[in-house]
């Protein structure tokens, strides 16, 4: 970026041959000679006089639009999953986390035990009606921004337990899901693909936790439920 101008920068230094249309007039590209007038005089034509608190405050108006990108990069590259392996997919999730297929290279190594410190809830394994209550409590305890990955067919739609009396037919009946990773269990490469898709979502700020619509009770009996 042209936030600094090097002495030898021909493109920056306007000379006689430079057509006026190519003269860039942003403050960063103006070359300041040694006998320059004070900052205020220089900046007066642009309406950017010396700010009372100091600093070239015009520049600060450039950074905030880049900070979103930086924050998104930070979030996407250090998604910390919650250790919430329920069933067989949990073994494949652990296999993804260990040496041969490593998700530490994506920054997802620390599987946090506490939901308060986790970003991603990878629901790995069959969700049963008895477990639905604790799992949703975990989801609610996770601070925003948070994302949910439904790993395996049991969490996508009930999977091989389609007619079972105690399996929640898809975890999206109880919580918003961002990425569905099908498979029974999905191969570690599949889960990694799903997590990379999640990173794209995070970078594009397309998560679901703000836009989830509660469809009301979906016939899930939680433990101790009076219904």
């Amino acid at each position: 970026m042209a936030l600094t101008n090097e002495p030898g920068d021909a493109a920056v230094r306007p000379n006689d041959q430079t057509p006026s249309s190519e003269l860039v007039t942003s403050p960063a590209r103006i070359e300041i000679p040694d006998s320059a007038p004070a900052d205020d005089e220089l900046l007066a034509p642009f309406g950017m006089e010396e700010h009372p608190t100091g600093g070239f405050h015009g520049l600060l108006e450039v950074i905030p639009t880049k900070a979103d990108l930086v924050i998104d990069l930070i979030r996407a590259n250090s998604l910390w999953p919650l250790l919430s392996g329920l069933s067989c997919c949990a073994i494949e999730m652990m296999s993804t986390a260990t040496s041969k297929n490593d998700i530490d290279r994506f920054g997802m190594f620390p599987f946090r035990a506490s939901p308060r410190q986790a970003d991603v809830l990878i629901v790995a394994g069959t969700l049963t009606t008895k477990m639905a209550g604790p799992l949703v409590r975990l989801w609610e305890q996770m601070p925003e921004p948070k994302w949910c990955v439904a790993m395996g067919t049991c969490t996508t739609s009930g999977g091989r337990f389609k007619r079972s009396y105690s399996v929640v037919q898809g975890v999206d009946r109880v919580m918003p899901v961002d990425v569905y990773v099908p498979g029974c269990p999905p191969r570690p490469e599949g889960l990694i693909y799903g997590l990379l898709k999640l990173r794209e979502l995070v970078m594009a700020r397309r998560g679901q936790w703000r836009t989830y619509v509660d469809r009301g009770p979906q016939r899930v009996a939680w433990e101790g439920d009076v219904r």
């Binding site: 392996g85 069933s87 067989c88 394994g125 069959t126 049963t128 477990m131 604790p134 079972s164 399996v167």
Partner: protein, 430 residues
């Protein structure tokens, strides 16, 4: 900030739950949940621990949930850093010493028995895979034996040898994972990586013959689904040459480790009579000195043609269970060697019709899974689906021994003891 009228503001989702629950409780005539009853009363333990707010219904519940002076209930909830799955332990503590324990199961109950009653016999073999998901081949082996008894056929010899081969491979990586989980539950983060590398190698081998990494749909009534070819056998031989070293690498980190020995020796000692009375089987029982192995007691498949002996340990503590599994792992490698030598040529699946309709009858098939005696009791009524399909899972029965082993140890030892019993919650909850 503008003033928000409390009557019209949209309540928080957490508040909505409480309000709704209050309304539903009122509709049911139940009244508000009891909070903090008087200390020392009979229901003193019924605070918001995750215990339902009703009086204890059974003797054991009363004994467990009545707190004396200085005791407290701690809920090690269904989600916890230990890697065994969703099991809830309500632990009664006095200080840091465990005095009583109540395991709450059922967080993974998927109704597999009921689903199997509506599925044909071949489909049943796919439903049983995710029970004990670390020993899927054993999960399929027992129903295959039971169905073959019902149908009255015998699998061809090559199929039996392939069955034994994959079953022993499954045992190898299951025991290898137990080593890793035991160390992980006690804080050692390295052996689990070695265990999973070992598991990935084995599971790639199994994927090359069955097509799946984990819930292999490999067994059929009357044999196995696909044959092994020479390329697989050469890969297997190459793997067999390197696995002892990699298991040895993993083992060297822990077996003579002072910290490990200090945390596992003389911990959770299970003596033989208690183990038999509680129904514990498998490596847990053999580590307490009882030489019961289903492969020797009721030989199935081709185990009467292979030579191996039943290993036992004497002490019955966590360290003994750990050593037992390592010894069995090496014994499995020896068995794989023998199987590779003796594999006969031939077909791998007997001629069975597409939809199997056995004659009405009852059959019981038992195998030795890495966790113990895994058995299937199947009743057929002559139709395409089993009339009753009952699986006896070893981890389920082994978990009963926890309220016996864990009291009088510290709460940090509960995880070591549980990891040494090696439960897999898929099997526990069916």
């Amino acid at each position: 900030m503008t003033a928000v009228d409390p009557e019209t503001r949209i309540p928080d989702p957490i508040d909505v739950d409480a309000a709704e629950e209050a309304r539903l409780r009122a509709a049911a005539g139940l009244g508000p949940p009891a909070l903090a009853p008087a200390l020392g009363s009979e229901y003193a333990g019924f605070e918001l621990v995750g215990v339902p707010d009703r009086p204890p219904q059974t003797e054991r519940e009363r004994e467990m949930y009545t707190l004396e002076e200085g005791e407290m209930l701690l809920n090690m909830g269904p989600q916890h850093p230990s890697t065994h799955g969703v099991m809830r332990l309500v632990v009664k503590l006095r200080g840091e010493v465990v005095t009583d324990l109540d395991p709450v199961l059922g967080y993974l109950h998927r109704g597999i028995e009921k689903l199997c009653e509506n599925a044909t016999y071949t489909t049943v073999l796919t439903y049983v895979d995710p029970m004990d998901y670390l020993a899927s081949m054993h999960n399929e082996h027992a129903p295959a034996i039971a169905f073959e008894k019902l149908f009255g056929i015998q699998a061809p010899r090559r199929a039996e040898y392939i069955r034994a081969l994959v079953v022993e491979l499954n045992r190898v990586f299951s025991h290898g994972l137990m080593i890793g989980f035991l160390a992980l539950d006690m804080g050692g983060l390295t052996p689990i990586l070695y265990s999973f590398i070992n598991r990935d190698d084995v599971v790639e081998l199994l994927a090359s013959i069955s097509g799946q990494r984990m819930l292999f749909n490999f067994f059929r009534v009357g044999g196995v689904n696909w044959d092994v070819n020479d390329e697989f056998l050469s890969r297997l031989g190459k793997w067999h040459g390197t696995v002892l070293k990699s298991i040895g690498d993993n083992e060297k980190l822990i077996t003579e480790n002072e910290i490990f020995k200090g945390r596992t020796q003389d911990m959770g000692i299970l003596n033989a009579e208690q183990a038999i009375s509680y129904g514990v089987t498998g490596p847990n029982l053999r580590a307490s000195g009882v030489p019961f192995d289903v492969r020797k007691a009721h030989p199935y498949s081709i185990y009467d043609e292979l030579e191996f002996d039943v290993i036992t340990q004497q002490r019955g503590d966590v360290y003994a269970r750990y050593l037992q599994r390592i010894a069995e792992l090496k014994q499995s490698l020896h068995l794989i060697d023998q199987i590779m030598d003796k594999m006969p040529p031939g077909p791998v699946q007997a001629q069975v019709p597409g939809i199997i309709r056995p004659k009405p009858g009852r059959a019981y098939g038992a195998v030795e899974s890495p966790r113990g005696l895994y058995s299937v009791y199947a009743i057929s009524d002559g139709g395409p689906t089993p009339y009753r399909f009952r699986m006896r899972d070893p981890s389920f029965i082994t978990l009963q021994v926890m309220p016996l082993l864990m009291p009088s140890h510290l709460i940090a030892d509960t995880m070591a003891i549980m990891a040494s019993l090696d439960p897999v919650m898929g099997g526990v909850d069916k």
